[in-house]
Amino acid sequence: MTRNEASRNIRRLLGVAHGLGLLLAMLIICLPGAWVVLNSLRPTVEIMAKPAIWIPQELSLDAFIAMFGVLGHGAIPVGDYFRNSLIISGTSTVLAIAIGMSGGYAFARYRFRGKSALFLGFMLTRTVPGVALSLPLFIIYARLGVIDTHFALILVYVALNVPFTMWLIDGFFRQVPREMAEAAQVDGCTRWQAFWQVEFPLAGPGIASSAIFAFLTSWNEFALASQLTRSVNSKTLPVGLLDYTSEFTIDWRGMCALAVVMVAPALALTFVIQRHLVSGLTSGAVKG
């Protein structure tokens, strides 16, 4: 065997190993998700069977029909939870992005006293585990009488998200060359116009991805929501999942079905925005 053939064989072998490794990783990542979807479609007996039944025997949409079909008849008010989740996550995302964008832009473009200290301060807030805040928050909110309101959760989620969005958006604005805004100003823009006409569209994909992060954080948050909500007034979907557990039974099928319902909008949002996350949008602006 020549050296050339040997090295070709080694390369092929490595290619196969690489593919197998990737497949294994994909299985580990995807299996839980697939299992949840599968379980939402089959009866509890089959879910709980030992040894596990991998190939489903019967599939039905009963869980979904029950969820949306008999609202207000003693079943779980998924519609209300969904609405609460949407209002809370949506509003807190919009606010967090608005604040994060202003802050991120300021950090990226301006020099001011105490800038690094302030930035570090924002980052440090990220190191506090969210659950640690639950008791103090609960006491303060109880005194203020805002427990079980949309406002309470929106405020918490904005506070949780702002440092992160600010940090991300700061990075995206840094990637937009300063000359862009300068060129726009020479072309007749005010500072404000230069921002909206040139810098914002260029940082847009980055801001959109920050929005996804912020939305998903709020959408999936459980620990604080479980403390600060009480009823259909403000309960969000993750907290609502608990409704499927009762004293002696757990409705695994229903829970999985709700999980699927929860994942759907997040997935849809990510897909919609991802189409706009065209990388390399700024290429060609300046000599690379």
Partner: protein
């Protein structure tokens, strides 16, 4: 009508003075190049004129009006950036028409003016492309197109060609010169490339450490450099500059080599004075292979050893060891020379320069 006047202009960054009280008057439709090494304050000066940098002290007037505190958009200027700074999310047409769109001009007028500029710069086939789909030279042209569409009073160029390769740079230089002839506006052009400055400008401003060293026509700064720095900066290959002392009617170099005192400096070069002797490569050549200045009496001939040659085709750069260092000379009509060969070398002292060693200022008396 747009003259640009700088009066006692200062820019400070904290304790650092980037521009130090410079005065400059630029005439209407004049093409002025600011040259100097990096960090000399030329770009800062340009950015102050554009309104992108605040002025620490002094005054800037455009068309007679003080513009110190006017925002860039109110100065009726256009700027071409070194990085081009094209808007990547807009097509070429949108890039060029952007300033007019912001000024809320009617679409018909925008189209007409963009087409006009595109015709001047041969950009018509590219109008619907994005900047990312253009080559470096094309982007450069679009950046210029964006500038001329506005019909500004003053064009500001900030090292516009430094990102292009040598061939393209030569072509674009010609374009810019043609463009200036066509649009008839005042141009302020910043570059670190003295060749660009020499070929393009009506007048050259040579800056160093935030000061202006000399202002003059290209020929002027080339033939009559005011300081040692200008002498060394303008011209390629650079002027031979060597420290020396005046003694016994001779210029004596540190290693004992000597040359006659150039006639123009007979009076100003007192005995014992420390000087810097300067002679361009064009004025020192293997005898018979140069362009003599015509003052036969001023030519000093001396046999020297060749240390290195750089053939360029129509001419050869020949390096000699003299006065303790390598001197560059330009040999026209070259004949083959090898290192180590001894040749008679002509020093055409009619074009020699003497500068004061301490101050670097020329010892030539002001000549009309």
């Amino acid at each position: 009508m747009a003259t640009v006047t700088l009066e006692k202009l200062v820019k400070r960054y904290g304790a650092v003075e980037a521009v130090r009280k410079i005065d400059l008057a630029i005439g209407d439709r004049e093409f002025v190049a600011l040259v100097g090494p990096s960090g000399c304050g030329k770009s800062t000066t340009l950015r102050m004129i554009a309104g992108l940098e605040e002025i620490s002290e002094g005054t800037i007037r455009i068309g007679g009006e003080i513009v110190n505190d006017l925002p860039p958009r109110a100065r009726n200027i256009s700027m071409v950036f070194q990085s081009y700074a094209l808007y990547p999310h807009m097509s070429v047409r949108e890039n060029m028409g952007f300033s007019l769109k912001i000024a809320k001009r009617p679409p018909g007028e925008i189209k007409q003016r963009v087409d006009e500029a595109a015709a001047i710069l041969h950009l018509e086939p590219l109008l619907d492309r994005r900047p990312s789909q253009l080559s470096g030279g094309q982007r450069q042209r679009v950046a210029m197109g964006r500038a001329i569409v506005r019909h500004p009073d003053v064009f500001l160029f900030d090292e516009p060609l430094s990102n292009l390769d040598a061939k393209l740079r030569g072509e674009m230089r010609t374009e810019i010169k043609k463009l200036h002839a066509k649009v008839q506006a005042t141009v302020i052009y910043v570059t670190h490339d003295q060749v660009e400055a020499m070929t393009l400008a009506d007048r050259i401003v040579i800056m160093r450490d935030g000061n202006i060293e000399q202002v003059g026509a290209p020929d002027d700064v080339f033939r009559r450099p005011a300081t040692r720095f200008v002498a060394g900066f303008i011209g390629s290959p650079p002027m031979n500059l060597v420290e020396a002392e005046i003694a016994d009617d001779r210029v004596v170099f540190a290693n004992g080599d000597r040359l006659p005192i150039p006639e123009a400096y007979q009076n100003s070069a007192a005995k014992g004075r420390k000087v810097v002797f300067g002679l361009r490569p064009d004025d020192v050549y293997p005898s018979g292979h140069g362009l003599p200045s015509g003052h036969a009496a001023a030519v000093h001939e001396q046999p020297l050893k060749v240390s290195l040659t750089e053939p360029l085709g129509n001419e050869t750069l020949v390096f000699f060891d003299f006065a303790g260092r390598d001197w560059v000379s330009r040999m026209l009509n070259p004949r083959p020379l090898v290192a180590g060969a001894a040749v008679a070398v002509s020093f055409d002292l009619a074009n020699a320069h003497l500068f004061d060693e301490a101050s670097g200022v020329t010892l030539a008396r002001a000549r009309g």
